[in-house]
C-alpha cells in the first residue's frame, strides 16, 4: 500500500444522512471500536420523522434537514474549538414523492451543507457523490478515468452533477472539501430494494439483458467507508474527487452468478437463472424512464431496468495512488456478508 500523509482525527465528526443506508454503516463504524473508531464525538443529522433507533447510542442525533438551512446551524452547537470534519452522505436516489426531491435534496441540500460547513469553519468536508454525473462508458472495455467530463444520467445524475458543482464552488470560496464517487454499493444495512435483488437471484428470476456482458463497478460498503475516511484524513488538495469501488468491475453475468454462489454457500436453494431479455427491453425501459421523469414522475423499476444494459466501470488507480485506498473485500465475500446481515435481521429472502 502506498504511503500517504494523514491528519489527526477531528474532535467532532458530523455525518449528514446518518440514518440512511450508507450513513448507518458509516456512523456505526466511526462510533465503534473497529479500525475506523475514533475518540472524538460523532454527530448525525437525521430528519425529524426519521427512525434512528437502529443507530448506536453513542451517536449524538441532531434533528434537521439539508433542505432547511437554519436547521443545519444546530449541527455545530456546542462543539467547541477543536477541528470538525463533515461527511455529507445525505441524498435521494429513488424519490418517493416527486422528482423535485432530486434538486431540493441532492443539489440545493448540498449547497446548504457546504455553506454551513464554511460558516462554521469545518476543517475537511467529504461529499459523497456518484457515478451518475458521468453517465456510462461507450464501450465495455472503457474505464472511467478519475477526471471525466460530466454527462449526467437523467434526473438523479443531473442533481448529483449540480451537487458536485456546488461543492467545487464552495472550494472556490475557501472550503476544504473533497468528493468520493462510489458506483452501485452493497452490503449490510442495505435497503429493501436490494433484498429484492437477492430474492430474484434465488428464484432464478433476475432479468439479464442481452448477453449479460455489461460491465459494472460496484462498491462493498466497508470499502466505501475506507475510501471516505481516507478522503477525510489524507492530506490532499481541496476540490479533488475519486472513484471508490471494488478493485475490478464485474460483468452482470458474474454478479448474478456470484450472488447465486453466495446464497448457496449460506444454505439457500438457488434456481438456475434463465431470465434473459433482449437488449431492447433496456432501451425501452430507459425511454419510459426518461419520459416519465420529464413528466415529473419517477418509477423505480423502469429506472433500474433502463440502467441494466449500461456499462459503468471505473478505474480506481487515482484513489490508490493519492489516498492509499486498497479495497479489501470483493464481490463474493461482500455478498455473503450482506446475506448474513439480512438473515440476522430476520429479513426473508
Amino acid at each position: 500500500m502506498r504511503e500517504v500523509q494523514t491528519i489527526d482525527h477531528p474532535t467532532a465528526t458530523i455525518v449528514t444522512g446518518a440514518a440512511g443506508w450508507l450513513g448507518t454503516s458509516l456512523v456505526t463504524a466511526l462510533a465503534g471500536d473497529g479500525r475506523h473508531g475514533r475518540n472524538g464525538s460523532v454527530r448525525g443529522l437525521v430528519r425529524s420523522e426519521e427512525n434512528a433507533n437502529h443507530l448506536p447510542k453513542t451517536i449524538e442525533l441532531i434533528r434537521g434537514d439539508v433542505t432547511n438551512r437554519a436547521s443545519l446551524d444546530r449541527l455545530f452547537d456546542g462543539l467547541g474549538d477543536g477541528p470538525i470534519d463533515l461527511i455529507h452522505a445525505a441524498g435521494v436516489i429513488h424519490p418517493t414523492a416527486s422528482m423535485n426531491e432530486f434538486d431540493a435534496v441532492n443539489h440545493v441540500g448540498t449547497r446548504n451543507v457546504m455553506d454551513a460547513a464554511h460558516r462554521h469553519g469545518v476543517r475537511r468536508v467529504v461529499h459523497v457523490s456518484s457515478n451518475s454525473p458521468f453517465g456510462s462508458n461507450g464501450a465495455r472495455n472503457d474505464r472511467f478515468r478519475n477526471d471525466e467530463p460530466y454527462h449526467p444520467y437523467l434526473g438523479y445524475g443531473r442533481s448529483k452533477k449540480d451537487a458536485e458543482i456546488a461543492v467545487l464552488n464552495a472550494v472556490g470560496k475557501g472550503l476544504n472539501a473533497v468528493m468520493v464517487r462510489p458506483p452501485w454499493f452493497y452490503g449490510p444495512h442495505q435497503p429493501a430494494r436490494q433484498t429484492t435483488f437477492f430474492t430474484m437471484v434465488k428464484n432464478g428470476k433476475f432479468p439479464i439483458l442481452g448477453d449479460g456482458g455489461q460491465v459494472r463497478s460496484m462498491t462493498y460498503v466497508d470499502n466505501l467507508i475506507e475510501g471516505i475516511v481516507r478522503a477525510e484524513l489524507v492530506a490532499t488538495e481541496p476540490g479533488r474527487g475519486w472513484w471508490i469501488a471494488d478493485a475490478e468491475p464485474y460483468t452482470v453475468n458474474e454478479i448474478v452468478e456470484t450472488v447465486g454462489d453466495a446464497l448457496r454457500s449460506e444454505g439457500f436453494h438457488v434456481k438456475p437463472n434463465k431470465f434473459r431479455l433482449p437488449n431492447v427491453v433496456g432501451t425501452v425501459a430507459e425511454k419510459i424512464d426518461t419520459l416519465t421523469q420529464r413528466a415529473g414522475k419517477y418509477i423505480t423499476q423502469f429506472h433500474v431496468l433502463g440502467e441494466m444494459n449500461k456499462n459503468i466501470a471505473v478505474d480506481i488507480s487515482a484513489a490508490r495512488n493519492e489516498l492509499g485506498y486498497d479495497p479489501q473485500v470483493a464481490l463474493v465475500d461482500g455478498m455473503r456478508n450482506s446475506i448474513r446481515w439480512c438473515l440476522e435481521q430476520g429479513i426473508e429472502l
Partner: protein, 482 residues
C-alpha cells in the same frame, strides 16, 4: 482517334499502394505503366491543408459523403501520390496485436508480424520517418499540455519528413510518393500517365486483357480515348475507387461490402494567444483511450475554421474573426460499424453508405466530451463543438450541457482513413482477394492498396498500406519473372 499503350503490368493509381508497387515491380525489371486520374502537383506549389489544395489534389474538391444516419463526410486524394500528398504525414506502424488478429481471423498466409514490421523499418528509412527536431506548433503543445494535466497518455507521432538540424515542426519537407517511390519507379523505367481516368477493364473469362481510359488533358472529346493492353493489372485506387473499378469489371465477391473507417467528430477551441498554424497539424495524439478513442489535431486553415463553426453559425459565427486564436481538433474512434461501396450504372461516383452502431455513437459522444475537457485543461477560453445546436463550452458545467445535448445525428462526422473494401486472406467467406491480393475468380487482377486491410487499423493507416503493398509486390515478383 485512340491512343494505345502496351505494358507488362498496368497499375491503376499512384498513392501509398500504387507508388510502392510500381517501384518494386519496375526495379525487378517489369515493364510498368501507372495511370493516375489526378494531376502531378509539385510539393510546395500549393499551400498544405488549404482550400486551394482541396480543389487541386482531392476528389470532388475535397469532400464526398457516405450516406447514413448520420452521413459521414470523407476525403480522397486525387493526384499523383494520392493521399500521401495531402495527409498529415503522421506515421504509425500497424500495432502487432492488430497484425496477429488479422492473420488468424482472415487466414492470411505468410503474414508473419515480424516480416511486416521489418518492411516497416525499410519504409521508415526510405521516408526518413522521424520526430520534429526543433519547436512544436502551439496546436501540438495544447494537446500535450491538456493531456498531461489530466494524466492521459499522449505521444508525439513521428512523420515522414526531412528537417535541417534543429528545424521546427513547420519546416519539414514531406517525403510523399512524388518525392520517393514514384521517382524510384520512373528511374527504373516505369511510366506514368497523369490525368487519365480509367473507365473500364475488359475481361475475357478469368483474365483481364485491356483497359479503356479517358485522357482528361485532351482538347476535344473525340481525341481523348486511350486503351492499354497488359499482362496483369494491379488496382490501387484507394478504398472507394478500387471496389468501384472491380465491380464495374464484374468482380463482386466480397468487394465493397466491408468498408471500414475511423469516424471522427470535431471541435474548435479558442485560446488567449495566437495558436493557429494554417499550414500544419498537431503531431501529438492522445492515446489514453486507444484503441477505442484517439484525439489529434486537424487542419485549421481559416476556411476550415469557418467550416468547423458552421454547425451552429448563429452562435459560433462571430468567432471566425479571431481564427488565429482558434485550432481544430478531432476525436476518432475505431468503429464496429461497416459500410458499402456500390457502383450505380450510369453514375461515375459509387454510392457509399456507412452505418454506425450504438457503441460507435456512444463512443463518439464520449470522445467529444473528453476532447473538450483536454481543451479546457490546456487553457481554452471557449470550445465550439461541431454539432448542430451545440453550446459554447467555457467550463465543466457547460461541458455537462454539451454532453447532454450531443447526438451523433446532429454532428458533422467525417473520416479520412478508409479501408477494407477488398479484404485479403484465404478465408473466402470474408475476403475478396487471396492472401497476396489476387482477386478471387481471376488469374491476373490484383488489388494492392488500403482496400486489402481487413479492418481499420486504429492508427494512421499509411504505414500499414505501404508495408502490405511492398510485401505483396515482392511476392508478385517472386512468382513472375520480369
Amino acid at each position: 482517334m485512340t491512343v494505345h499503350h502496351d505494358c507488362d503490368v498496368l497499375i491503376v493509381g499512384s498513392g501509398a499502394g500504387g507508388a510502392t508497387t510500381a517501384a518494386v515491380l519496375a526495379e525487378a525489371g517489369h515493364h510498368v505503366l501507372i495511370v493516375e486520374e489526378g494531376p502531378w502537383v509539385e510539393q510546395g506549389s500549393v499551400v498544405p491543408f488549404s482550400l486551394d489544395q482541396m480543389d487541386q489534389q482531392y476528389r470532388s474538391g475535397g469532400v464526398t459523403v457516405a450516406l447514413g444516419m448520420p452521413s459521414i463526410a470523407y476525403t480522397e486524394g486525387r493526384c499523383a501520390g494520392g493521399g500521401t500528398e495531402v495527409n498529415s504525414g503522421l506515421y504509425w506502424r500497424p500495432p502487432e496485436a492488430t497484425l496477429d488478429s488479422w492473420r488468424i481471423k482472415y487466414r492470411i498466409k505468410d503474414f508473419s508480424t515480424d516480416d511486416v514490421l521489418s518492411i516497416c523499418e525499410e519504409v521508415e528509412s526510405t521516408l526518413s520517418v522521424q520526430k520534429v527536431p526543433g519547436e512544436h506548433t502551439p496546436a501540438s503543445d495544447i494537446l500535450r499540455r491538456g493531456a498531461d494535466r489530466l494524466g492521459w497518455k499522449n505521444d508525439e507521432i513521428p512523420r515522414w519528413m526531412t528537417y535541417r538540424d534543429g528545424a521546427g515542426a513547420t519546416e519539414g519537407h514531406r517525403q510523399s510518393m512524388t518525392r520517393t517511390y514514384l521517382p524510384r519507379a520512373l528511374a527504373a523505367g516505369a511510366r506514368i500517365l497523369c490525368e487519365h481516368r480509367l473507365n473500364k477493364i475488359v475481361r475475357s473469362g478469368r483474365r483481364a486483357v485491356s483497359a479503356e481510359l479517358t485522357d482528361m488533358t485532351a482538347a476535344t472529346d473525340g481525341q481523348n480515348a486511350v486503351t492499354i493492353s497488359f499482362r496483369d493489372v494491379i488496382v490501387c485506387g484507394g478504398a472507394i475507387q478500387t471496389p468501384a473499378i472491380l465491380q464495374r469489371t464484374g468482380l463482386r465477391h466480397r468487394v465493397g461490402r466491408t468498408l471500414a473507417v475511423h469516424p471522427t467528430v470535431k471541435l474548435a477551441a479558442r485560446f488567449d494567444d495566437v495558436v493557429n498554424t494554417p499550414d500544419d497539424v498537431s503531431v501529438f495524439q492522445v492515446k489514453e483511450f486507444a484503441p477505442n478513442i484517439s484525439f489529434g489535431g486537424s487542419a485549421s486553415h481559416p476556411g476550415l475554421v469557418a467550416l468547423a463553426l458552421t454547425d451552429n453559425w448563429r452562435d459560433f459565427g462571430s468567432a471566425v474573426t479571431s481564427w488565429p486564436e482558434l485550432a481544430i481538433y478531432y476525436a476518432a474512434i475505431t468503429s464496429e460499424g461497416r459500410g458499402l461501396v456500390q457502383v450505380v450504372p450510369g453514375v461515375r461516383d459509387p454510392l457509399v453508405t456507412y452505418r454506425l452502431t450504438k457503441r460507435d455513437r456512444d463512443l463518439l459522444g464520449q470522445g467529444l466530451g473528453r476532447l473538450a475537457m483536454v481543451m479546457l485543461e490546456a487553457g481554452a477560453k471557449e470550445v465550439y463543438p461541431s454539432f448542430k445546436g451545440a453550446p459554447v463550452v467555457r467550463d465543466r458545467a457547460d461541458l455537462a450541457a454539451m454532453t447532454t445535448m450531443f447526438a451523433v445525428a446532429r454532428a458533422s462526422v467525417m473520416t479520412v482513413h478508409l479501408c477494407s473494401t477488398a479484404p485479403m486472406g484465404d478465408d473466402d467467406k470474408r475476403c475478396a482477394t487471396d492472401s497476396h491480393g489476387l482477386v478471387r475468380g481471376t488469374d491476373n487482377v490484383f488489388v494492392n492498396d488500403a482496400a486489402l486491410l481487413p479492418e481499420a487499423p486504429g492508427v494512421n493507416p499509411q504505414a500499414s498500406v505501404m508495408a502490405i503493398a511492398i510485401r505483396n509486390a515482392r511476392r508478385y515478383c517472386a512468382d513472375r519473372a520480369g
